[in-house]
């Protein structure tokens, strides 16, 4: 089975798809998970593959015993699967597994690009980046911002014309995202890559928010110099961060880390680096199980076809944005002209003058709808999207009172889709927001969240959290009994 039939079969086969919690009204509700931009649910098939691999689990860097050989092969499979998934030529690019999210991979990319272009100079970073694709580059040199099209709060994608102009100053490199984690807006990477290449400027692409939702092909993207994503955004939580980067860029840099597995010979005074570039750059014990999980998830997505997935999610994304825009006094940030400014299934919004913390907490407590709120680790971008409405706020003359008014408005609520998301999920979100907008008084639960100061995080954990802790305790106890008390 593959293509659309496999997609339909797969959509209900994620761990946690039927998770239930006790809501504020005391009823058990099925969780509606709309937080996939933060982390996706685990694909059952990928988890099953990793579990099967554990029968052979061993460290890599050896092929002497059968299991070590199996682990090395499995790890190599994951690396090859990544390169083929993004249509990257293995002669030009290598794939490194780094850390446990995109942050370590982006820091690593900054290390290599810095060494590749050692002359002092600035770095161009777009105005919509996640902190992880912004802060590492501030250590390299002064950052110049690539501007966006449109005007706030309806900002669009990176302005390709303005970006091309910035490239003429020959920065050390440029860092951009394929899709925003705040608005889901997709950037014209092929155009940006061409502009950077024409000026000899390397370009780094953060593909975290696109990798599970769009066909991501290095060739179609104009052969960017480096691309990063993370397994937890592509239905393989617990897997490593991924850096795909031009081999010659890595060759030009000193090893990022020193330790076991990256040397061929070590004396008391000196050492010789491993000849293999990947070995040289992956010091220490790798996350083999995580890599296998990721490789399996990518294998399944490839069998469905990312074009099939993108077409499916485009329809649901249009429904999400249209449904949100139909809610009274709800503001969706970023351009909502999806034809002119396409986006993956991410929408950030605010409802009337309610604090984002209150909206997100009420959705959770009363409807078991899991969304995220705040600035999503993209404060400069969120700040620019929110600026005009925050600047227009009426604040008391007393600064402390004014701070309390403003504090709960410094953010937004984000709903984001995954393969398991349905039209019914989107409809439930829109219906809940309509009810909350019409009858906010019904949703005030002061022990859980405070609409005035948004201080819900300081409150005791809600019952659902204790429910989960009790369940883990029960499972562990049962496991221990079965292992130690029952006769073999």
């Amino acid at each position: 089975m593959n293509g659309a039939p496999l997609l339909e079969a797969l959509r209900g086969d994620f761990i946690g798809i039927d998770t239930r919690h006790c809501a504020a009204d005391g009823r058990s509700r099925r969780r509606i998970y709309l937080d996939s931009a933060a982390t996706t649910l685990m694909m059952s098939a990928a988890h099953a593959t990793a579990t099967a691999f554990l029968q052979h689990n061993a460290n890599t860097h050896s092929r002497t015993h059968f299991s070590a050989h199996a682990a090395a092969e499995a790890y190599a499979f994951a690396r090859e699967r990544v390169l083929s998934f993004i249509d990257a030529d293995p002669a030009r690019y290598l794939c490194l597994f780094v850390g446990h999210g995109a942050t370590a991979a982006l820091n690593r990319a900054a290390h290599y690009l810095c060494a590749y272009r050692p002359q002092a100079g600035h770095v161009v970073v777009s105005s919509m980046e996640h902190h992880s694709n912004d802060l590492p580059h501030r250590r390299v040199g002064p950052v110049q911002r690539a501007t966006l099209t449109g005007t706030a709060p309806a900002l669009g994608a990176i302005d390709a014309g303005a970006f091309a102009t910035l490239m003429r100053d020959r920065p050390r490199y440029a860092a951009v995202s394929l899709a925003s984690n705040v608005t889901g807006i997709v950037n014209p990477i092929a155009e940006l890559s061409a502009a950077a290449r024409s000026c000899g400027v390397p370009i780094l692409v953060d593909a975290c928010q696109a990798i599970a939702h769009l066909p991501v092909s290095m060739r179609s993207l104009g052969e960017p110099d480096a691309l990063v994503f993370s397994g937890h955004k592509v239905y393989a939580p617990g897997s490593p961060g991924v850096l795909v980067i031009r081999r010659d860029i890595v060759e030009a840099a000193p090893p990022a880390e020193l330790g076991g597995g990256m040397v061929s010979d070590v004396s008391a005074r000196d050492f010789t680096l491993a000849c293999d570039l990947v070995e040289r750059e992956e010091a220490g014990t790798p996350n083999v199980v995580g890599a296998v999980t990721l490789g399996a998830a990518l294998e399944v997505l490839a069998r469905i076809g990312m074009d099939v997935i993108a077409a499916h999610e485009r329809v649901l994304t249009e429904h999400l944005v249209a449904s949100l825009l139909a809610v009274d006094a709800l503001r969706v940030y970023g351009s909502t002209d999806l034809a002119a400014c396409p986006r993956v299934g991410v929408a950030s919004f605010n409802l009337a003058d309610h604090g984002h913390g209150w909206v997100a907490a009420a959705l959770n407590d009363h409807y078991d709808i899991a969304v995220r709120d705040g600035c999503f680790c993209a404060q400069p971008y969120a700040r620019s999207l929110l600026a005009s409405e925050l600047w227009a706020l009426e604040a008391p003359d007393d600064a402390d009172s004014a701070e309390r008014v403003v504090q709960r408005r410094r953010g937004m609520v984000r709903a984001s889709l995954g393969l398991y998301s349905t039209r019914a999920d989107v409809d439930a979100l829109a219906s809940a927001l309509r009810e909350m907008g019409a009858h906010p008084g019904r949703y005030r639960t002061p022990n859980r969240h405070d609409d005035e100061v948004g201080a819900r995080h300081e409150q005791p954990a809600p019952p659902a959290v204790w429910q989960v802790r009790a369940e883990i305790d029960r499972l562990l106890t049962a496991r221990w009994r079965s292992a130690h008390l029952q006769p073999a």
């Binding site: 700040r383 925050l390 604040a395 403003v406």
Partner: protein, 77 residues
């Protein structure tokens, strides 16, 4: 040439967007042609006040940063 301000506004210790909100309120209470000098300490406030002046039509006379202070001088038009 230093321009004498008709009004001084201290937003030291305030987080954005409060410096912009108080700048907006101060300008609203001033006459056209008068000059407002704003001092803030939030590192993002200077860019925000400059952008606010561009959008609101106030004339930006000068900006400078010194000793942790961001100073913006505006004229109401």
């Amino acid at each position: 040439m230093r321009v004498l301000a008709d009004r001084e506004l201290s937003c030291r210790g305030m987080r954005c967007p409060l410096p912009v909100i108080y700048t907006r309120k101060a300008l609203a209470a001033m006459d056209c042609g008068q000059v407002l000098r704003v001092v803030a300490t939030d590192p993002g406030s200077m860019d925000d006040i400059v952008e606010f002046s561009r959008r609101s039509g106030a004339e930006l006379i000068s900006t400078h940063a010194a000793g942790g202070d961001c100073v913006v001088v505006l004229r109401k038009l």
